[in-house]
Homo-oligomer: 569 residues x 2
């Protein structure tokens, strides 16, 4: 492709709305343009990248037995009412009334529609298992769309749904999809991790998220470098300490700690380390207030806490006023001794002795506190976030924490939708059974933002070769003035194209610096520079996007050289 026949439009500065690196670079490189809040036009250059991702997703879905179809974007409310999600889904669903005042939505997902297809089309176990997928524009009316395509309102998704005669079959397909997803992200050239995810209210047995690893990721992931273990921090179990609680060595003392509220303030004031302190959090649960004890250097995991029978539903932290009412002190002086409500301690707290905590009296803390002596032994649970260095729950090493961007999610839905919508089939004995169901999503457009978060430098985007809009760019120097340059550029361009290489010819006749900067910003992996000086010695220049320096290549070796580069990168 010649730049003159294509449309490239780069910006020196990203619009101020962009916060995240990938968002800034996508705007600067002209991959996308904003139409409205959370609405982006995929410009020609960006669309090429999107199509490459789409193609790989499609190939791997087809290989895994997925059958492509295309459901409508606009869905009637009636289907969503069957599963109860019309009300439950919330304001993320873009609801629409048609000219006859009938209710529809712009599909945020398609479980209802595909289950409707399945219940009409699938009558017999002979038709099972079957996996359908589509690549489609979805809409979710995010309250605060941001980060460009990463949290856009309109986005492109690959959504797949499988139907099964029994759970074993679902588990098999689930594994096939897990493997397909791993191949997809590997082929895309992304550093990623599959992590166990919360199955939430659906209560299925299996769910994995696929995260592209990037420091800017919204999700924290706990993983074990020595094993396969990886889980969203929300879910990663913090094992009970293997150490025993030491015998009390100190007496409990009430110490004046005027103006000292936070763990940092207390540890510095009392000259103790934070793992000798206990913090007390009072939360609102389904059945009233509950106090939660955590080691000073640990953080509450609200997902885990919400699953405790004593809490059931985590409604938030108790207000200052409510705390003063029940404990007669401020938040910074709370402690478990003499606290009149259910108290649950984190596993790490259960082995502490001679610890520091608030005295339930403003301006005072207790030191040398011990369970069994100063306060009763209390209920223990895993309620904290796992941290670096924690033992891996699979017993195979220590956890590390990284951040990730969720780009895929696979889910054993079981019979939730099929039951609500009466999607049944006749089994071998002629008995009507409810189908088992799985769903498998990939955020196709989000992948591009995630890849750029992972691959960029001060000069711009570093695309994995499989996603780059073009494989190679030829930058001619002085093509307008030199017939020699023009001839050799055209020859090489044709030769590379004929060899099936996606080559971009920057024939804009701009200053070399402008062309180099644009092509680096756009993230083209390989660059050939052809100028008269080099040609006189039958030489051209090659530089990879990540190479520190250019390399001289004999003109006659250019094709072989490039082909080798394309294979090895």
């Amino acid at each position: 492709m010649r730049v003159s026949q294509f449309f490239i439009s780069t910006l020196k500065e990203a619009p101020s709305e962009a916060e995240l690196t990938s968002h800034k670079l996508m705007l600067r490189a002209g991959l996308i343009r904003r139409l409205g809040s959370g609405l982006y036009t995929w410009m020609p250059l960006g669309l090429r990248v999107l199509r490459k991702v789409e193609a790989i997703v499609r190939e791997e879905m087809n290989k895994s037995g997925g059958i492509e179809l295309l459901m409508p974007a606009v869905q009637p409310a009636e289907l969503w009412q069957e599963t109860g999600r019309w009300e439950v889904f919330g304001p993320q669903m873009l609801k629409i009334k048609d000219r006859h005042e009938r209710d529809f939505c712009f599909g945020p997902t398609h479980e209802e529609v595909i289950t409707d297809v399945a219940r009409r089309e699938i009558k017999s176990y002979r038709q099972l298992p079957v996996s359908f997928y589509q690549v489609q524009t979805k809409f979710r009316d995010e309250i605060r769309p941001r980060f460009g395509v990463m949290r856009a309102r309109e986005f492109m998704m690959k959504d797949a749904y499988s139907f099964h005669a029994n759970f074993e079959s679902l588990e098999q397909t689930y594994q096939v999809m897990y493997d397909a997803y791993s191949r997809i992200f590997t082929r895309l050239g992304l550093k990623f991790r599959a992590v166990a995810a919360d199955t939430g209210a659906i209560g299925g047995t299996g769910s994995h998220e696929f995260h592209v690893l990037a420091d800017s990721g919204e999700d924290a992931i706990a993983f074990c470098p020595d094993s396969q273990f990886a889980a969203n921090v929300e879910l990663a179990e913090a094992l009970a300490p293997t150490t025993q609680r030491a015998e009390p060595a100190q007496t409990m003392q009430k110490i004046a700690t005027p103006g000292q509220h936070t763990i940092d303030e207390i540890t510095s004031f009392l000259k103790v380390s934070s793992d000798q302190t206990v913090k007390t959090l009072i939360v609102e649960g389904e059945h009233g207030l509950v106090a939660l004890l955590l080691r000073g250097d640990h953080e509450l995991n609200e997902v885990k806490a919400g699953k405790l029978a004593q809490i059931t539903a985590f409604k938030g932290f108790a207000s200052d006023a409510r705390i003063r009412e029940v404990a007669q002190c401020g938040v910074g002086s709370l402690g478990p001794v003499g606290l009149n409500m259910p108290v649950i301690a984190d596993r790490a707290v259960s082995v502490m002795s001679d610890f520091v905590c608030g005295a339930n009296e403003d301006g005072f803390h207790l030191t040398g506190v011990n369970f069994g002596r100063d306060l009763p032994e209390i209920e223990i649970a895993d309620i904290r976030n796992a941290v670096e260095g924690d033992p891996s729950p699979d017993g195979k090493g220590k956890l590390e924490i990284c951040r990730g961007i969720e780009v895929g999610h696979i889910f054993q839905l079981r019979t939730k939708y099929a039951e609500a919508m009466k999607a049944t089939f006749l089994d071998e004995t002629g008995k009507s059974q409810v189908m088992e169901m799985g769903c498998y999503g990939i955020g196709v457009s989000r992948i591009i933002g995630a890849a750029i978060e992972q691959g960029n430098d001060e000069r711009g985007i570093i695309f994995p070769p499989a996603m780059a809009p073009f494989e190679l760019v030829i930058v001619p120097i002085g093509m307008k003035k030199s017939e020699l340059v023009k001839d050799e550029v055209e020859k090489l361009y044709t030769k590379l194209q004929t060899a099936g290489i996606e080559v971009l010819l920057d024939n804009r006749d701009e200053r070399p610096g402008v062309m180099f900067a644009d092509m680096e910003l756009i993230g083209i992996p390989h660059r050939i520079v052809i100028g008269e000086r080099g040609l006189k010695e039958n030489q051209i220049e090659y530089q990879g996007r990540c190479d520190a320096e250019a390399q001289i290549v004999p003109l006659q070796n250019a094709l072989d050289f490039i082909q080798l580069k394309l294979c090895t990168k």
Copy 2:
């Protein structure tokens, strides 16, 4: 593809909702399934057809210099307010409010969005001309969605938009697009015709519709088989007769015609032919009532009538009550003699003499009426539909009339949108100029319905080879029982696949009749039948979808034979 790994779901009977042949066949063949009114899921088989159409459209657009991008489906109201179309577009536009109560629509078309892109991105004449296109899901809230994908609410469209520094450049690109469209429909294997279309309120200089010819088409097209002339009947000029008006030969007489109102009744009662009668229609125009005279065998063309200065806007026919008020008679007795309002005669009427018309008195007609003697000479205009046998307006032969389904439309928009939205550029002299603009649409999903209207028989769909979901089907007879059949089927299947042929293997082990019927219904162009009896003589059977009989082919020639068939069909 093996049928067991695909999803084929045919129906014996089409649901009663389907009226049109193509709609019935698409449902029966399982190409689409209805989700709601005007909403269809493209089932795996149908999606394959859709993708083939898409691919050909894309290839030809790319060849013509089109640059693909992808704009959001959801569009902010503000852009439509800039051009005034937010109010004008009417209830076909699906309007949406987001969670913040801001106005959006599900894009029915994208002139506003692309013009917004252009005005932001295009600054200089050096960037012009440029043509963008996309293949995208659109929504038009049809008041009565019907005919399946032919008039669906959600549909797939290829929409292209070109921007230009001047009109000459627009005209050039318009011609390039005209040629691209012609190639697209030719490659799709459709009988089609490009026809001059009404430029309507936009007032551009050029517009062509591309129609797939089919008796069930909604549009009537007048064309000249001896020349390039073709126009929507709405537009086709009916030339003035070259014959002179004969001298009066009869005296005017008032004849009692009790109970005779229609032209048919009058001609039969008075024993005259309909081309000796004149019918009088009273219509409501911008400035009041106007009487229009047409030869008894001709039909009023409302588009032409609406363009007359005396009418300006065609508001409909006058009511019976209004007619009685002004003419003191019923519709069936109207005539021009003594009628007190502006009267305009069609060109064909202007050369009539001794004609029959209503007497403006119930139960009476006049015969032997003549202009200049019995009533004044009156204003003449072209206000009728052209009919078969009319001279072609280009003077090169006689018109024929056929019916068509509009599948493409190209349009010189000129500066309508660019002016409203201030899409300007700097010309060579540094002066700011408004861009010229063209738009070019193809109803991608509609094409499939149109193709089936054109290609079908009592057994089902007859796809043009370029659109068929598979090129060839292998139907094995008794594969489960015979190892020989199984082996040879697998061998041939692999051989054909390796040769790059899209072959479907019907391995369902159904009765041959069921498999034959399904594959004919689906419209696979070529069929190979492999059974034990034939194999024992090293023979297989071939039958084309339109062939009356099967043909014996030596097994060892199968591939060559098929390749030849695929090339020549």
